[in-house]
């Protein structure tokens, strides 16, 4: 796939997907909580843009609705809810540094290489042209999961979960030109409900153990030792 042979729109799709990958790395190492939410909003906006661009080049109008939905939900509504949550929990100045940022970032890069190697054998005709965006999406999913593993704050873990979902959405949009509209609506509302439920849970957790550090959740078990 020579880059020069693609149309400008398809090049744009590649560029935006690469930027989505960059935002997931930015989420991985971002220390300030509020900045994390902002980067997540940008990631949502970029995914919405990719959807719109694919709608333009592949001429599938229902993807416009999908793009608008993604933009409204992922770039505006959910970040606003998280922002409000953070304010109510008085954590808007919270800074959480990773233990070994270099090692984590290099591991993330290794995940990108790994997802590329995994996607290489894909040979089905209709997927071959966008095989490489598939690799990027898989990388976004894996990096999102890595984020959930290395971060200790519950809010950033939720953001990791959401960015994982972003990766899946990107794969669906770029590789198969979107899912049936019903499925997309269902997934979108699922994510919204999940965000609401998380908000409710955070209050409960915060009141029980006075912190949102997930490592301290083992205080809830009867036999767990109290390690601070």
């Amino acid at each position: 796939m020579n880059l020069a042979q693609l149309s400008l729109g398809e090049q744009g799709t590649l560029m935006l997907s690469a930027l989505v990958l960059l935002t997931s790395f930015a989420l991985l190492a971002q220390a300030r909580l509020v900045a994390c939410i902002h980067v997540f909003a940008w990631q949502g906006a970029l995914v919405g843009l990719v959807t719109a661009l694919v709608a333009l080049t592949a001429d599938t109008p229902h993807l416009y609705i999908s793009a608008a939905l993604t933009l409204a939900l992922k770039a505006l509504l959910i970040p606003w809810m998280l922002h409000r949550l953070v304010r109510r929990l008085n954590m808007h100045r919270h800074v959480e540094t990773l233990m070994q940022p270099t090692v984590v970032l290099l591991f993330g890069a290794a995940l990108v290489i790994f997802s590329y190697v995994v996607v290489l054998p894909v040979e089905r005709i209709e997927l071959a042209a966008t095989r490489n965006i598939l690799a990027i999406s898989l990388a976004v999913v894996l990096v999102g999961l890595l984020m959930m593993v290395v971060r200790r704050q519950a809010v950033t873990q939720v953001i990791g979960f959401m960015s994982l979902e972003n990766g899946l959405f990107l794969a669906a949009v770029a590789a198969t030109r979107g899912m049936p509209l019903v499925v997309e609506l269902g997934v979108a509302f699922d994510v919204l409900v999940a965000a609401v439920l998380f908000g409710v849970f955070f209050f409960q957790i915060s009141e029980s153990i006075e912190s949102l550090n997930v490592d301290r959740l083992n205080r809830l078990s009867e036999t767990g030792e109290d390690d601070s």
């Binding site: 070994q100 290489i113 590329y116 190697v117 290489l120």
Partner: protein, 666 residues
């Protein structure tokens, strides 16, 4: 040509013999043994260059060895290159030696030992390069290892030196055993120990991989790849400096020669996985070598760790060669091989230069610790100048030779776009980035070395009183410095010669390497990359000269002296300078996960004054060597149980053995 090479070996053995007379008069050593070594070197250079330029290899058979396994000799382009390399360094060391050994004449050490084993060491190395069958190779290898052990343990009054010698001998023999097993595997399929037969034979892939692994382990241990490098920083510093130059500059290269001979010539078809492993091990060695070097403040130990780094760089080049050859790009493989061999020669030249300089400093200032040196460039101007050239060369800066080989290695790595495999296309740039990091850290280390040891003010009294080294030592260093410059400014000549090695070994020439004439080095093609080293040197000299001339005319020439800036406080004395430890502190903090660092302020034993202590240790000991040592000790303890001391048990063993043997005859 082979006759010249044999003459070289005989001259080395002769110097050995003559040194026996040194117990009566030191002049025997100075005027007999060392000139004979010089003759050895010159013959080796001529023989090597002749073999490099000859179209066909030279072969011969010696009546030595066992009756049914006579020793086969072969001098081809690869062997010729290494022969010339050995000859060059041996010649310079023989000029350096007479001045240097003067300091041993009045001490406890015995001069004959030094002379005898130096000659045997050189003879052993020459024979390894000439060997064409496994038997002769192993005998020469042993000769090389054992004679260098005696040289390492030369000043055995200190316990640390004895320990270093023991470790060195142990690891040399483990490596030698591994090489022998590798040859055994290949000989099994070839039907004989001849290299000629091994070349013809084809091994099945699994056995070829086993042979390669054994050879890589053995030669890697001798060359000093991480994690098999532990003996290097112990053994090289304790040997006399000209021997350190021979060991670091030449013996490690003989190990590289062995590896190249086995993997590119004898073992047959190369697998891509081998190349990847060599590449990874080379990159890790390079990076860890330079990081540990940065933490040292003993000058010779620092140089020894740098040898680990440069061997890593050579193996990066060799790894690239193997990757390109195994994926069907013989031209690129030849380019990478040229890069690796160029770096081999460069390292031999500048590492020897640096060790000879360190020896001069050690002889004149009696100091090996950089934290006590300073300002030596004004006391020893010639040594300072030549050492500076060595520092610039090893930091891979234009227009000297270190830069050319790094440039060639990068050019080889940059041809990754021709490969088809995606994972390889991501791995090689990462290895190249590690190489870039290594090069930059090496430059940082040598700024530290030169800045702390030669610039600034002297930090201790003996250093303040140091004088310039004797003439012979200066001439030797000057020759090597000149070689550094020549190899940097005329790379096309050497690339043209190395092309012959690629042609004979791989069957591929580099048609475009000098396509635009002697001035332009274009390893792959003129469109891909080109470097005109003489023009760069000319440009540097012109701009420097022009600038000097324009700015220094008339009344503005005068330069006035004053005190350095002291911020308005007390005048800065020698102890307020930056120390070597302080210089490398930021890098130590950044990479601290890779070291075991123990830092603290403790009261000194006698006076009670607080003293800052810093200990940086190699992680390889804990991770790799200690477990091996523990396993060996435990299993040895278990095995000792068969020695019960009871005579009836021993008679029982005899009975059991007899029964087994009788049963076998059945």
């Amino acid at each position: 040509m082979l006759a010249l090479a044999e003459l070289a070996v005989l001259a080395a053995l002769g110097s050995s013999l003559l040194s026996l007379g040194a117990s009566h008069s030191a002049a025997a050593l100075r005027w007999g043994a060392f000139p004979l070594l010089g003759l050895t070197g010159l013959c080796a250079i001529v023989a090597g260059l002749g073999a490099l330029m000859a179209p066909e290899p030279f072969t011969a058979q010696l009546p030595l060895g066992l009756p049914w396994l006579p020793w086969q000799l072969r001098l081809d382009a690869l062997g010729g290159f290494f022969l010339a390399l050995i000859g060059l360094i041996v010649t310079t060391v023989s000029v350096y030696g007479p001045g240097y050994v003067r300091e041993f004449e009045h001490g406890q050490a015995s001069l004959p030992v030094l002379g005898v084993f130096t000659g045997l060491f050189v003879a052993g190395m020459l024979l390894v390069v000439l060997a064409d069958d496994a038997f002769m190779f192993m005998v020469s290898w042993e000769l090389m290892s054992v004679s260098s052990y005696f040289l390492v343990a030369f000043q055995h009054e200190h316990a640390a030196n004895r320990r270093a010698g023991f470790l060195y001998l142990l690891m040399a023999h483990i490596g030698g055993l591994s090489i022998l097993l590798g040859y055994g595997v290949m000989a099994a399929f070839a039907g004989s120990f001849d290299f000629e037969a091994m070349r013809e034979a084809t091994l099945p892939t699994t056995w070829a991989s086993i042979a390669f692994a054994l050879a890589f382990f053995g030669f890697g241990m001798k060359a000093g790849l991480v994690p098999l490098h532990a003996w290097l920083p112990e053994a090289h510093p304790v040997a006399p400096s000209h021997i350190s130059a021979l060991m670091s500059g030449v013996m490690l290269k003989v190990a590289v020669y062995g590896f190249v001979r086995v993997s590119l010539d004898l073992v047959g078809a190369i697998q891509p996985a081998w190349g990847v492993i060599v590449l990874i091990v080379g990159s890790i060695s390079a990076l860890l070598g330079v990081l540990y070097a940065l933490m040292q403040h003993d000058l010779k130990r620092l140089l020894a760790y740098h040898s680990v780094e440069n061997i890593g760089i050579i193996f990066i080049g060799l790894g690239l060669t193997m990757v390109f050859l195994s994926t069907g790009h013989p031209l690129l493989g030849a380019v990478a091989l040229v890069a690796a061999l160029y770096h081999t020669l460069n390292h031999a030249v500048f590492k020897s230069l640096l060790f000879l300089g360190a020896g001069a400093v050690l002889q004149q200032a009696h100091e090996r610790d950089m934290e006590r040196m300073g300002g030596l460039a004004r006391r020893m101007p010639w040594t300072g100048l030549f050492f500076l050239i060595g520092c610039i060369s090893i930091s891979a800066l234009p227009p000297f030779n270190g830069f050319v080989s790094e440039w060639l290695t990068f050019q080889a790595a940059l041809q990754t776009w021709a490969l088809e495999s995606g994972p390889l296309r991501t791995l090689i740039p990462i290895a190249a980035a590690m190489l870039a990091l290594t090069g930059a850290l090496a430059a940082a280390c040598f700024v530290k070395v030169y800045g702390v040891a030669f610039l600034g003010q002297a930090r201790s009294r003996p250093v303040r009183r140091a004088r310039e080294a004797p003439l012979g030592m200066r001439i030797a260093q000057g020759t090597l410095a000149l070689m550094c410059l020549l190899l940097g400014v005329f790379p096309t000549t050497l690339v043209h010669l190395l092309d012959g090695v690629g042609g004979q070994l791989l069957g591929t020439h580099l048609p475009q390497a000098t396509a635009r004439g002697w001035l332009w080095l274009t390893p792959v093609s003129p469109d891909t990359a080109s470097y005109a080293a003489p023009v760069v040197l000319l440009g540097l000299i012109l701009t420097w000269g022009l600038g000097s001339w324009i700015l220094r005319r008339g009344e503005r020439r005068a330069v006035h002296r004053c005190d350095p800036w002291d911020c308005g406080f007390a005048p800065p004395d020698a102890r307020m300078q930056y120390t070597a430890t302080a210089f490398s502190m930021p890098i130590r903090r950044i990479f601290q996960g890779l070291f075991i660092v123990r830092e603290g302020v403790e009261p000194e034993a006698h006076t009670g004054e607080p003293r800052y202590q810093l200990q940086v240790r190699d992680r390889a000991w804990g991770l790799f060597y200690a477990p091996v040592a523990v396993v060996v000790r435990e299993s040895a303890r278990r095995i000792t149980r068969i020695q019960t001391g009871n005579i009836r048990v021993y008679l029982g063993y005899t009975l059991a053995t007899l029964l087994v043997l009788l049963w076998l005859i059945l």
